[in-house]
Subunit: 120 residues, 2 copies
DNA sequence: TTACCCGTCTGGAGCGACTCCAGGTCAAGC
DNA sequence: GCTTGACCTGGAGTCGCTCCAGACGGGTAA
């Protein structure tokens, strides 16, 4: 599978995939005899995971660490699990932020409605 | 109130507040005779709102537009409300992303637990 | 009174995470 | 054989901060 399809499947842009490879987040993709990248199903699965981690706020630095563990193989399973558990904690905090922001918005919007209801 | 206190109250860093002023997100803060910024309670309320909008993913460009409307006064209430309603929609999408990511993590973590349960 | 902090100021450099672009290669279709 | 389109690389540009150097001014302490 080539890079445009990998992009469509993972949600990452073509540029981002190349950038992630350069940055060591993706374990060097194989090349065909034409010099083009060929993505395996495991590559895709990995990209999808990166997509979600990144989209929900995991910093690149932590993703690089996670990628390094992945390259180490099964010995690093416990540490990888720890990274994901930590990210779950981050998701909880983000949900709390969204909820708090919703409250702030609800208050502001209510204020606006009041002003509209009683125009000066 | 001076900038460090404004920072403590709003959650924005001192640098970020100055940056927001430079970028036109904050309606030029008054200065004391010493040349230092003096923040009014309304300034603080505004910064708090910016803090939450930014923290939950509103782009600067949209915040600049929102700030411009704010400077126009009461005539822009309807448009400002529209901006906030649009942001509520963004919050919903972000919650959906967090939920989807939680699913992906749960699946991955379960896989890891299985591998740990049956070490090679 | 002089010395030294402290918090503030400005302008500008640096950074993380992309995003876009110029210029080049190659395979396939007309 | 020529164009088109997907891909390649290296590097510049962008957004949203963050940090830093160098200067100023007020308050305390020796």
């Amino acid at each position: 599978m080539r890079i445009s399809e990998a992009s469509a499947m993972s949600g990452l842009s073509v540029d981002t995939i190349r950038y992630y490879e350069k940055s060591g987040l993706v374990p060097a993709i194989e090349r065909g005899s034409d010099g083009l990248r060929r993505f395996s199903p495991e590559n895709i699965e990995w990209l999808v995971l990166l997509y979600w981690l990144r989209k929900t706020g995991m910093p690149m630095k932590e993703m690089r660490r996670f990628a390094a563990l992945y390259r180490e193989g099964e010995d690093s399973i416990a540490e990888r699990k720890a990274v994901l558990l930590k990210h779950e904690e981050r998701l909880r905090r983000r949900r709390a932020d969204l909820d708090r922001c919703s409250e702030v918005l609800a208050y502001k919007i209510a204020t606006y409605r009041k002003i509209e209801g009683e125009p000066s």
